[in-house]
């Protein structure tokens, strides 16, 4: 009962033979070898599996691969351009916005969507926007700081210095 799905992933067309029941997260990881997308829960809570579908952050464990037919998908692997880190990646590094790193790809992908909608989010808006991304290591504080810093970079301003 397998069928072929054709997906545009990180700018390249990829096809995979999948069962209708295959979750997009599994197909990305197991069939397309894009293991930067992680799976941390089964109820659509933790957001570790977040990718961009047509520019919007979506939990890829709560989507069938067949539903993504014809969509433009961006995973964490496709975020850096020409070897340059995306400002969010850079900011997570600068601000110590990660520890074990497992939630980080999903967290960053959600933040990409947030900053596309809101170029200068407040701390409260950031915390609300990432409530579907769980992090058990950082306590979120440095993640918030990283997203603020990246927002500043993307706006073309000098990133704010970390409050000590």
């Amino acid at each position: 009962m397998k069928r072929t799905v054709s997906l545009s992933v990180n700018g390249a067309t990829r096809t995979a033979e999948v069962e209708p029941r295959a979750l997009l997260a599994h197909v990305l990881r197991d069939d397309l070898d894009l293991t930067g997308t992680h799976i941390g829960c089964d109820t659509s809570q933790c957001g570790a599996c977040t990718v961009l579908i047509d520019g919007r952050a979506v939990k890829s464990c709560t989507m069938l691969a067949v539903q993504a037919e014809g969509c433009q998908i961006t995973t964490i692997e496709g975020l850096a351009t020409n070897g340059n880190l995306h400002p969010l990646q850079q900011a997570f590094w600068e601000k110590h916005g990660l520890q074990c790193g497992f939630c980080t790809p999903g967290m960053i992908m959600t933040a990409v969507d947030l900053l596309a909608q809101n170029s200068n989010p407040s701390e409260g808006e950031i915390r609300h926007a990432i409530e579907g991304n769980y992090c058990r290591c950082t306590g979120y504080q440095n993640i918030v700081a990283a997203i603020q810093a990246a927002a500043a970079t993307l706006r073309g301003a000098t990133p704010a210095r970390a409050a000590s």
Binding site: T43, E94, H96
Partner: protein
């Protein structure tokens, strides 16, 4: 050149993590990979009848199906590795797959190996199991009463052990005391919830007899040791690789049946086998934390001197004794009953009790959060009883800073401390006096503000191996490092600990780079592969820096001593005449005669011209076994507002002042505090594993277990004082667990302080709105209130 030690440089592990290029266990792919799935008991307690695997075996893609009876004779049960002495410890066998009986929801019953994840999962539904349900009991206090359902034939009343700690004469102290307070405290079960669920990839090579296991492990050497025992294969043929590990918080210390089953399957089928847990499986089959029911008392004088502490603790162990389980509520808990104070008389009794629930083991803080919580709740309760400010009671009882090393009544000797220092700093950051005034004003307006203080001392840097042996820990507690310098001078350091988020690839490189006068980029830290790293004992108990970091320092020093000999030889100078300046040795008085560390390293490696008696090569191994534990300390303050109408608690400010000795990387230290504090606030306000009367885990997914979200958590204000430890040459202590150890009591004390006008003395955590509201209703009904 400024030293790297003390500098908050960016982490060197991050580039691979932020680009999705890191390899976690489930990312490992091997040719011919097949998949394992485990059927888990839906009953908390049942006799196991026939396990019919016929249909599953016949299903498409299925390669093999095993039930407990199929493997019992081939493997050794999962060992308990902390055999705490003098407590009549009983650790009945824990079969890899249940045999004759299941003892918790999630106990493994059968396993399927198939060509795909889906085929393995599908086949689980085809296994028919006859269960004869038995009564469940998940409350540790009830489980050891007469008439409770019995889990193990040889463990009457489910009592795994009764452990006693005593110092001074507590009974006498209580008999004579001017003031006494008591509490019944429930320290609820918690689900560690490392974001990465557990996983294993096992690959056995029948030709060489070598077994390689990639696993989500905080301590690959312990896994190698235990796998070898369970599978009865020689340890030197087992290689354990813990690649990137997505958080552990203690839950990836134990060696579980599941990883070993993957090995067994690979040995039988001759192909690599992968097993990956779902989150709901993780919540049932990976260890839980805490689970105490405690009766605790404190006594003192009316002017605030604490004279005694007594406890009776029922510590739930779950269905079996997990790897380190017996040590957690005893050695890591009961021995800390003095907290930060000079309590002369202590008596504690801890009953370890089997219950029909998931096994409990070390969870971030492991025993010390429970100890700090009960002590700090009692200190506040005593303060209220005698009408004294809780801050004053703490001041009055702190171990004075000039009294270290200080031996507390439980027998531990604390290394160093300045408890007044962190308290004063925290109070200053808050402006305690101003808050009290604001609180008073708010009370008059019918608002409920509160401030909670939590001063702690904790034991970490585990620890001297001799002590480990004496307290029944089944391994050593030293750690190790190999520093290897290549001809170009580049350095790789192989360590026995296993960082999984704590940033030691950076902090350890800072130590070594400083030693050699290098930029940090010249040093790589290698960890997690038992094939390349020296024997070590892993990352837990905030031991990695104090013990493993010291080993790194010592190995680097040894390398440097040898390089110095080579440099002196090349400079045709006496070693004694060499001075170390930035990155090179300089002949005293002749500043142009210099040899850098890199130049010496090259010569040591090519060996064209070495001093007599010096071997070629440049590397050194160090094993460091500390002489004592280290004892970080601090004071955390929390202010809250409680909405009396809904019971909702809002954290207004959270201030953490910790002292973990000199921070190698302050940015990383602060990150550890943030994470620990939020985990503790989660414990205080919202996290709880709930079982029903039948032993079903009702919080079986993240839909019901409230892992803290960004939108629910406050900002943390951090500060530090620095009191070096005399126990290791770096002076460092540990900071991985201080957050959870301190914060739980700070939050609960704040809420109880806020609700004091209603006559509320204690509410059991987590302080969910429902619980706080119920307590307020009850207080009002009881004629409490203003």
């Amino acid at each position: 050149m400024p030293t790297l030690f003390g500098s908050g440089i960016k982490r060197r592990e991050d580039p691979r993590l932020i680009t999705g290029r890191a390899t976690y266990t489930d990312d490992v792919k091997l040719p011919g990979l097949i998949y394992l799935a485990i059927l888990r008991s839906p009953y908390a307690h049942a006799k196991l009848g026939k396990v019919d695997t016929k249909a599953a075996k016949a299903a498409p893609g299925v390669l093999a199906v095993y039930a407990g009876a199929d493997i019992t004779d081939r493997v050794v049960p999962v060992p308990c590795a902390w055999n705490v002495p003098n407590c009549n410890l009983k650790t009945p066998p824990h079969p890899l797959l249940a045999h004759q009986k299941v003892r918790y929801v999630g106990d493994g019953v059968a396993m399927v190996i198939a060509e795909s994840r889906a085929a393995a999962r599908d086949a689980l539904d085809l296994i028919e199991v006859d269960y004869e349900p038995l009564k469940a009991v998940t409350d540790p206090e009830r489980a050891c009463q007469q008439g409770a359902p019995q889990l193990h034939a040889d463990v009457p009343n489910n009592l795994a052990f009764t452990w006693v700690v005593a110092g001074g004469n507590a009974d006498e102290a209580f008999a004579k005391a001017e003031a006494k307070v008591s509490l019944r405290i429930v320290q609820q079960r918690l689900l560690p919830t490392a974001m990465e669920p557990r996983a294993a990839v096992a690959s056995y090579n029948a030709g060489t007899g070598q077994l390689t296991l990639w696993a989500t492990s905080q301590n690959p050497h312990i896994h190698r040791f235990l796998c070898s025992v369970m599978l009865k294969i020689p340890e030197h043929r087992v290689r354990v690789i813990a690649p990137e590990v997505g958080g552990g918080f203690g839950s990836k210390i134990p060696c579980y049946a599941d990883e070993v089953l993957a090995c067994l399957a690979s040995m039988d089928l001759g192909r690599p086998v992968k097993w990956t847990e779902d989150r709901s499986e993780n919540y049932k089959a990976t260890i839980h934390g805490r689970d105490h029911v405690e009766y605790v008392e404190m006594c003192g004088t009316r002017d605030g001197k604490i004279t005694g502490l007594r406890t009776r603790v029922y510590a739930g162990l779950g269905g079996y004794a997990s790897t380190a389980a017996p040590g957690v509520p005893t050695i890591l808990h009961g021995l800390m009953y003095s907290g930060a104070y000079t309590i002369p008389n202590i008596h504690g009794t801890v009953h370890g009790v089997y219950t029909t629930a998931t096994p409990v083991d070390a969870y971030r803080g492991a025993g010390r959060p429970e100890a700090t919580y009960l002590i700090e709740r009692l200190v506040d309760t005593l303060a209220r009883e005698i009408g004294m400010d809780p801050v004053e009671v703490r001041r009055k009882n702190f171990i004075p800073k000039d009294a270290f090393p200080y031996t507390v009544a439980t027998g531990l000797t604390y290394d160093s401390g300045n408890y007044h220092g962190t308290l004063d700093k925290a109070l200053g950051m808050l402006d305690y006096g101003a808050f009290r005034a604001e609180q008073e004003k708010a009370r008059q307006q019918g608002r409920y503000l509160g401030v909670g203080v939590s001063s702690y001392a904790e034991i970490c840097g585990l620890g001297p191996s001799q002590v480990a042996g004496a307290v029944g820990f089944g391994g050593g507690l030293y750690d190790s490092a190999v520093v290897r310098v290549y001809p170009t001078g580049m350095v790789r350091v192989y360590i026995g600990t296993k960082p999984h988020g704590q940033g030691e690839e950076t902090t350890f490189a800072q130590i070594v780079a400083d030693e050699f006068g290098y930029p940090v980029e010249s040093v790589e830290i290698v960890h997690g592969d038992t094939e390349s790293t020296p024997q070590g004992w892993g990352t837990y108990g905030s031991r990695t820096t104090a013990v493993g970091g010291t080993a790194v320092k010592l190995a680097a020093q040894r390398v440097k001593e040898k390089a110095k000999k080579v440099a002196a030889h090349l400079l045709e100078a006496n070693e004694a005449d060499l001075e170390w300046k930035d990155d090179a040795w300089v002949v005293r008085g002749s500043p142009d005669k210099r040899k850098s560390f890199a130049e010496a390293a090259l010569m040591a490696n090519v060996a064209w011209n070495l001093p007599a008696g010096v071997e070629p090569g440049l590397e050194a191994t160090a094993f460091f076994d500390p002489t004592n534990f280290v004892y970080p300390f601090g004071t955390h303050l929390c202010t809250v507002e409680v909405n009396p109408e809904t019971g909702q608690v809002t954290v207004l400010r959270y201030i953490a002042v910790d002292d973990c000795g000199p921070p190698i990387n302050p940015m990383i230290v602060e990150g550890q505090v943030h994470g620990g504090v939020i985990q503790g606030i989660g414990e205080a306000l919202q996290e709880m594993a709930v079982y029903d009367a039948e032993g079903q885990l009702l919080t079986g997914t993240m839909m019901d277990y409230a892992v803290p979200k960004a939108s629910q958590m406050p900002k943390i204000e951090t500060a530090h004082t620095v009191t070096p430890s005399p126990v290791n040459p770096l002076g460092v202590k540990g900071v991985g667990e201080t957050g959870t150890i301190a914060s739980v009591a700070a939050v609960v004390n704040a809420v109880c302080d806020a609700l004091a006008p209603l006559g509320i003395k204690h509410i059991d955590k987590p302080l969910t709105p429902a619980r706080v509201w119920a307590a307020i209703q009850q207080a009002k009904g009881n004629g409490g209130g203003r």
